[in-house]
Amino acid sequence: MAVASLKNLKNLNDGRMPKRKKKVNSPWGGFFFVLPSIIAMAIFVYGMIGWTVRYSFSNRTSAWKKDMSFAGMARYTELLQDPEFTHAFSNLLKFTIVFMIGTLISGLIMALLLEKGIRGEGFFRSTYLYPMAISFIAMGTSWRWLMDSAKGDRATGLNLIFDRIGLGFLENTWYTSIKGSMFAMALPAIWQMSGYVMALFLAGFRGIPDDLREAARVDGASEFKIYRHILFPQLSPTFLTILIILGHISMKVFDLIYGIASKGYVTKVLAIYMWQVIFDFQNYAKGAAIAIVILLMIAVVVIPYLIYVNKTEEAK
């Protein structure tokens, strides 16, 4: 069918144009084309979410207790009283905050530097973007070496660099101390994602017509004022997009942390704890409840954004 319509396209003359348009616009034709993906989504995304929700309300709390009876909110109240869960939850919040602020700032600075159209921009752009091409697991392994917590003459990785360049006081225990663990853990994530944020900001800057800047300059605005009052306000959709992308990456974080510290207690986040509860404890109901908590956290971030996007598109 696709082949036939292609042939038609070639033989088209002006008189036949409206006919073709009608065909494409017919609601049933369009529906037919998206049907496979609708079915796949219905089963593998929404069906599975429904199934997970069902599990989280059940009594299926171990491998041998095949008890799917309705338990109400029992699994969720269990989570609230579980110190491991609250520990993982607060770790995730710390990670998210540090990661998002860090990535935004460093991405913005890089974008500002490149935005002026310096020489070799293409080179810098790809250099900054490059970390994104590395998988979290491979990166985790190398950052585990870099962030080794040994000090003094036993130091390796970053601590050794600090030691050698006379900044010994900066040596620290990285992700192995209870207080600082998530700050250290956010470092590799920032390193990886800031290039991407830079690219998004850069695209945002390039989307603003030069006339506006010129007009502002003619009116005698300083460079700082141009950014503050002309450019940044126009970047707010870009800014929002970046927040959403970073936010949902951060909530789901698993591989980076597993790659660096495996299932270690100090750096445990929700996704790691969920994995442990499902596969080690085989407490399927509780694991499903943790999965739903993660899903809700992401939904809180993403759904308002989708509503906003839909509204602005309708307005257009």
Binding site: R154, I178, A261, G264, Y265, W275, Q276, F279, D280, F281
Partner: protein
């Protein structure tokens, strides 16, 4: 026309991919699930495989290995396969309580009759058979024995610290740690990566500090976790940790390297450390040496890899044939010298093994047998994971929160009972 033929080619390609995809293994094959994928472990498995194909030339051998992390990754895959009703013909698991969740879920078969027909009930040590038996039934066939309570050290570094012989008590060991420190060497090598190796050390300290009877009572509720004995052990454990290396993120091979390079004094680790070092070209007796964990001589804290027969195995016959090889003298002697462990059978030939393993074989026959918690003997998967996590938390907090640690250990015991 051209496009049509392209479509056909594409369809054919899809069909080809679909038909070669590893769906259910064909009849006459044995699918075995292990986490042995490299080094001595893989070599040992290959030895046993050769023995299997010699006896069963018509059965194709399919190795579904999932590498890494002392089997924690493999367990994740296995759990989902078992839950989906798609088990392999046999899978590797630590012998002991680690199997309890499979037993309770009725996912593995009772093998007691195989023990009788193959005579394993006579050649495996009685203490071991007792531990393997739950409610009169045995569910797995152990292929090897590792010892967990071994003290490793470097003779040259010890000489520098003025230590000439291994300590014989826990307190003696702590005194030695101070001597190492004085000589500018870290007292003990600690591997903080993933918590389990620190929990392994704690497991030894518990055993050495309270003795085997009370230690065994911890896992069945006869010894209380919130009493004085555990508190004393925690105090000693904290003292030992204070002499450790400053990096808290080492994997166990890296921590072991501190010892063989003379940067750390003692190392409490299972005897797989020895085969690791030998594969790096180090010599037993010269570059490193061993002693029973101080205060636990005459006690063999064991762990064992074993194979099972899942309920609903696609090729049950092949699974049973594999178990027979795994328990046989030929199978165990093909596997163990390469893996760096000793045979479960007491009639194995000592000539095949190195000097450490020969000594271990002697102890295995006469010592009191006690299980390892971190390696699946005393706790099921849930309890084990909780135990590791609690020790990891204590270690991460610089061994300060002794009360919280004791509470966590009680909670881990409860987690194990509930799972």
């Amino acid at each position: 026309m051209l496009k049509k033929s392209k479509l056909v080619v594409a369809l054919a390609a899809v069909a080809l991919v679909a038909s070669t995809a590893p769906a259910a293994p064909a009849a006459g094959s044995l699918e075995i699930f292990t986490w042995w994928a490299s080094g001595g472990e893989a070599a040992g498995l290959e030895g046993m495989t050769t023995e299997f194909t010699k006896q069963n030339p018509d059965t194709e051998f399919v190795n579904a290995a999932v590498a890494g992390a002392a089997g924690t990754n493999a367990k994740g895959v296995l759990v989902s396969r078992m839950e989906a009703g798609n088990p392999p013909d046999t899978f590797q698991a630590h012998a002991g309580a680690e199997l309890s969740s499979y037993v309770k879920a009725k996912q593995i078969e009772d093998l007691t009759s195989l023990y009788k027909s193959e005579g394993w009930d006579k050649v495996f040590p009685a203490d071991l058979i007792k531990t393997l038996t739950t409610k009169g039934k045995i569910y797995s066939v152990p292929v090897n024995i590792h010892r967990a309570n071994v003290l490793w050290w470097n003779p040259a570094a010890a000489k520098k610290a003025g230590i000439t012989s291994a300590p014989t008590s826990l307190d003696g060991m702590i005194a030695d740690l101070a001597k190492f420190k004085k000589a500018g060497i870290d007292g003990i090598a600690l591997a903080g990566q993933g918590d389990w190796a620190i929990a392994h050390l704690f497991d030894y300290v518990l055993l050495a500090s309270m003795g085997p009877d009370k230690f065994n009572g911890l896992w069945n509720g006869k010894t209380k976790w919130n009493k004085k004995d555990v508190k004393t052990a925690i105090k000693k454990f904290a003292k030992i940790l204070s002499y450790g290396n400053s990096s808290k993120s080492l994997d166990w091979p890296d921590a072991g390297k501190l010892v063989t390079e003379g940067k750390a004094g003692y190392f409490i680790m299972g005897d797989w450390a020895s085969s690791q070092w030998q594969s790096e070209g180090l010599k037993l007796g010269k570059d490193y040496t061993w002693a029973p964990g101080p205060g636990t001589s005459g006690i063999y804290q064991w762990l064992s890899d074993s194979f099972t027969l899942p309920v609903g195995a696609p090729n049950r016959e092949a699974g049973i044939a594999w178990l027979k090889v795994a328990g046989s003298l030929a199978g165990q002697d093909a596997f163990n010298p390469k893996k760096g462990s000793i045979a479960v059978r007491t009639d194995s030939d000592p000539k095949l093994y190195d000097s450490y393993l020969k000594a271990a074989m002697k102890s295995w026959k006469v010592d009191r047998l006690v299980g390892s918690t971190v390696h699946g003997v005393n706790y099921g998967n849930a309890g084990m994971s909780a135990y590791n996590s609690v020790v990891g938390k204590f270690y991460a907090g610089n061994a300060k929160d002794k009360k919280g640690f004791a509470k966590g250990l009680v909670a881990a015991y409860k987690t194990n009972k509930a799972a």
